[in-house]
């Protein structure tokens, strides 16, 4: 009975309108703002559950579709729908938003109503972007979410927040306008803005390469890939905890989603030609950024670099497909790489969110993110230490946690492609263990570093709940990834079948 309901529209507009309501009702009443914000976030999460349960497995078709005419002059429609790639990401978004709202409960003191409403509006926009089937609609959501994020970093961020937020905005804007030109170009060729029609649009090699590069500009900045990653450490370090969580857990995934939704199916031949470039950049992200993460003295920066390295794995998994095909002659391995990248994205959503929350927990107490200021936290905060070690292990890809599943699948796929690619990719297991465990050693273990650390109090119930929630999903996905894979399988197989056909 729910299948005919406009669930996706509800998921988009409930948080947006709820955000404005929170702002209107809670401007001078923080308590009201918090309660209202949380209710909206939870309601949205609950409303997103039918997507998971009613989703029809085994088909690559778009589900829960909604169509309404929007801009007739350009043949643009308000067209929503989800498939196996976008549905898990929407659920991740609704879950993480609940986490972010709860995390802000006490740690955001200035203008909380504005903060919560920005987060909720952003949630709606991100869901809209994942659900959009029309390119203009996609672009509108894609760009619009920059505005609340710009304000969140700029108002609630750290000391260098203005520099970081302007850099964040201009970098992302720079990437996305080229995509806009590519989208319009394809509209002039096809007469439609439906993404599905772009998939089937025949394009010459030159056009494909240019379009690929335009998409690359948009998504490589977003995900981010080396060498356009430099905005991320700045933005992460300066953003408030909730901003970092949204950024790492969801916004980075938009880049990966874009590669799957646009780059690969629209320009398969260009992807095949340029896949070496993509693989090399991904490996640089994995190896070089991993080394860079080792030497960081700021916890948030370290996790930010670790995010870039993990995202390198995602792009590696996506673009291995053509290598695997030319090596083995079948497309089975390609599916493995792409599915691995997807699992890695979801898993990173939980783990990075938890890591940033953990840093936020420490920051709320000591107002420092410097690793050197900590040490021996386990003595005063045993529960916190336990969770921190768990998530650190997940970050390094310990079997049994979600971090392992994605990395394992990608490395497995890499072996089918080329030994050396797999070899370099596998260095992440050492590097990630290196920088994460060294972080754990310096922050959690050892002697109590200072009187301040000695005076730390352990997590309160609210923080415990958040950590527990994320730990649950990290472990669940680690030991039982089958349901997630089952949801994605048909879509990914369909995608691989699509890119196997040349458009030339």
């Amino acid at each position: 009975m729910f299948a005919d309901w406009p669930i996706l529209s509800l998921l988009i507009w409930l948080p947006i309108l709820g955000g404005f309501l929170t702002l209107a009702a809670g401007r001078d009443a923080p308590v009201v703002a918090r309660r209202l914000g949380l209710s909206v976030a939870v309601a949205t999460f609950v409303a997103s559950l039918p997507l998971w349960f009613l989703f029809e497995r085994g088909t690559a078709d778009m589900q829960f579709q909604e169509v309404a005419s929007w801009i007739p002059a350009f043949n643009v429609n308000y067209h929503l729908g989800v498939d196996g790639i976008s549905m898990p990401l929407i659920l991740l978004t609704t879950l993480i938003t609940v986490v972010v709202v709860i995390a802000a409960w006490e740690s955001v003191k200035d203008r909380i109503a504005y903060y919560l409403s920005a987060m909720l509006i952003m949630e709606g926009l991100m869901i809209g972007m994942f659900a959009a089937m029309d390119a203009v609609l996609f672009y509108v959501f894609f760009e619009a979410m920059l505005i609340p994020m710009f304000l969140v970093i700029g108002i609630w961020g750290g000391p260098r927040r203005v520099y970081a937020t302007i850099k964040f905005f201009l970098y992302t804007f720079l990437g996305s306008v080229f995509m806009l030109v590519a989208l319009i170009y394809m509209y002039t060729q096809s007469g439609s803005f439906l993404i599905q029609d772009f998939h089937d649009l025949p394009l010459g090699m030159t056009a494909q390469i240019l379009i690929f590069l335009a998409f690359f500009a948009a998504f490589a900045v977003k995900i981010p890939m080396f060498p356009v990653h430099t905005w991320l450490p700045d933005a992460h370090v300066e953003a408030p905890t909730g901003g970092s969580v949204i950024l790492a857990a969801i916004m980075l995934k938009i880049g990966g989603y874009g590669f799957l939704r646009f780059s690969l199916p629209i320009t398969p031949d260009a992807s095949a030609v340029l896949d070496t470039l993509m693989i090399v950049l991904s490996l640089i992200a994995v190896v070089y950024i991993g080394v860079v993460a080792l030497i960081q003295s700021d916890m948030k920066k370290l996790i930010a670099y670790s995010s870039i390295a993990h995202m390198g794995f995602v792009t590696l998994g996506f673009f291995l497909a053509f290598y695997i095909y030319s090596n083995t002659g079948d497309w089975q391995g390609a599916s493995l790489g792409i599915a691995g990248g997807m699992v890695q994205m979801i898993s990173h959503g939980f783990i990075s969110a938890a890591m940033f929350l953990a840093v936020g927990v420490l920051y709320d107490r000591l107002h420092s993110r410097q690793i050197a200021d900590y040490g021996g936290v386990v003595n005063t905060m045993p529960w916190f230490a336990a969770f921190f070690v768990l998530f650190a292990m997940a970050n390094t890809g310990l079997p049994g946690t979600s971090g392992f599943v994605g990395e394992f699948m990608v490395i497995l796929a890499a072996f089918k492609a080329d030994f050396w690619i797999a070899f370099l990719a596998a260095t992440t297991l050492i590097l990630a263990a290196g920088y994460t465990l060294w972080l754990v050693k310096r922050v959690i273990f050892g002697a109590v570093a200072s009187e301040k650390v000695a005076g730390l109090s352990d997590m309160n119930r609210r923080e415990f709940f958040l950590m527990g929630l994320l730990a649950f999903f990290t472990l669940l996905l680690g030991v039982w990834p089958a349901p997630l894979l089952e949801v994605m399988n048909a879509t990914i197989d369909n995608l691989v079948a699509h890119i196997a056909h040349s458009k030339l």
Partner: protein, 482 residues
């Protein structure tokens, strides 16, 4: 010689505005300063009345009258209504500004009304002379408006510059028109077009010569690079209320003027003027966006941003397709709406002896008044072309027109400069939201009266048209394509 009585009906709005302007002019002379609101009310009523008349007469058919020198078509209907609406908001924003400075004179509104009449004639001109007369009526009213705060030396200086350069441009225009008249033997737009089509010799040197003069004059009036020198000085020097006026509605009229002359008249020479407009577009985008970064005065910054917007406007026109013209029309209406809000915000923040025309004057606005900081944020993001504001669809439409004409590189150039443009709009947002208020302007802004309401409506319109852009886009498509 048989004399036919022309059909007056299509020109009834013009006649109404003219009659009312004359009536208010006389009435105003007898009003004491304390009763100036009567003038204001009558002028606004005239605009509303003209809008009613225009809408009542609106229809899809094309009507020519006064020996084919006057045209009423869907384009003129839509553009005239846009002019009335913009002017209505402009007068509404201006009133408190003028009152606070003791220059709440009837001349402002009456000159404004004559300028509106000039714009209406420009929009409906179908003859080189009619178009020229409309333009001059608008220009002379504008010069006088800029100079109308006569104790203010900066305004007087700006008026002088405006007048000298404007007169030069008018001279160029007339010169170009005379060439074209010489080659085609007619002043009638339609006859010129058919003569040019029949001639089939578009490389005719005197014709191209005349065309160059036309394009230069239009570029002058719109403020496209390299004929933009007057724009920043006049915008900055004029009283903000007047800047508000000359930066908004006249651009809509200038668009119509360009459409009548270049597209309807010189349409067969599209290949010739397309190249010229491409140069103007690229230069305007580059100079406007880059120099705006260096400004400290928000009025000058908006002036350079206007120059950049003119570049975008040209991009829609030079495509030479009907959807291109419609997109340019959409662009100019959106621009007028957004610019009215932007300058209106300066008026809103200013008070006696404090112009609020430095970018710094917006510091900490989010703390002084969050609602109007939000409205300004919408306006700025609309100028930058960030969705979900309407400015995005304007840019989308013109870039699409350029790409549709095969000018992919031009689209890429345009988006590169729009990123540069995003920087200086963002800087204002940054100053409003992230900086602390300045000491001499830290008290909360108290919104009051019609200005605050109108400004809110204006800002929300930018957002709502951005969420539902279909209607306005359909209207502009109807106006051009039918």
């Amino acid at each position: 010689m048989n004399f036919e009585i022309p059909a007056f009906l299509p020109a009834v709005p013009e006649m109404f505005v003219l009659g009312m302007a004359c009536f208010i002019l006389i009435l105003d002379a007898f009003l004491p300063d304390s009763r100036r609101d009567i003038t204001y009310g009558l002028v606004q009523a005239t605009l509303v009345g003209a809008a009613v008349l225009t809408l009542w007469l609106a229809g899809p058919e094309v009507e020519l009258t006064f020996s084919d020198s006057f045209i009423k078509d869907p384009m003129s209907d839509v553009l005239k209504v846009a002019v009335y609406v913009t002017s209505f908001f402009v007068f509404l924003y201006s009133r408190p500004y003028l009152m606070a400075r003791g220059i709440h004179k009837g001349e402002f509104y009456i000159l404004g009304l004559f300028a509106v009449l000039g714009m209406m004639i420009m929009i409906s001109g179908h003859n080189l002379l009619t178009l020229y007369l409309g333009l001059e009526l608008l220009s002379l009213s504008s010069y006088a408006l800029v100079a109308f705060w006569r104790d203010n030396t900066r305004a007087t200086e700006a008026a002088m510059k405006y007048f000298v350069l404007g007169a030069l441009a008018s001279g160029l225009l007339l010169y170009g028109m005379s060439m074209i008249y010489g080659m085609t033997g007619s002043l009638d737009i339609a006859v010129i077009a058919s003569e040019l089509t029949a001639a089939d010799d578009t490389m005719n040197v005197p014709l191209v010569f005349g065309l160059v003069f036309l394009v230069v004059a239009i570029a002058f009036k719109l403020g496209a690079v390299p004929f933009h020198m007057w724009v920043p000085d006049v915008y900055d020097g004029a009283p903000t209320a007047v800047t508000l006026f000359i930066a908004t509605a006249p651009k809509i009229a200038a668009f119509a003027f360009l459409m009548r002359l270049l597209v309807e008249g010189m349409g067969p020479m599209h290949a010739d003027w397309q190249g010229m407009l491409i140069i103007l577009t690229v230069l305007s985008l580059a100079v406007g966006n880059v120099i705006a970064i260096a400004q400290t005065s928000i009025k000058r910054m908006f002036a350079y941003s206007t120059i950049a917007h003119i570049g975008f406007l040209f991009m829609g026109i030079l495509a030479g397709t009907e959807s291109g013209y419609a997109s340019a029309m959409f662009y100019v209406i959106v621009y007028a709406l957004t610019a009215a809000g932007g300058f209106g915000m300066i008026v809103f923040l200013s008070r006696q002896g404090y112009e609020a025309d430095r970018i710094d004057d917006f510091a900490g606005l989010a703390r002084r008044n969050p609602w109007f900081a939000f409205i300004m944020l919408l306006l700025l993001f609309s100028m930058a072309g960030v969705p979900p504001t309407v400015g995005f669809y304007a840019k989308l439409a013109v870039i699409q027109a350029a790409l549709g004409a095969g000018l992919v590189w031009l689209g890429v150039v345009a988006v590169i400069f729009s990123i540069i443009g995003a920087f200086y709009y963002l800087r204002v947002v940054k100053i409003m939201f992230f900086d602390e208020p300045k000491e001499d302007a830290s008290e909360p802004v108290q919104p009051s009266g019609a200005l605050a309401t109108a400004l809110s409506v204006n800002g929300l319109a930018v957002l709502l048209l951005g969420i539902f852009p279909g209607l306005l886009l359909s209207v502009t498509h109807y106006a051009i394509i039918g």
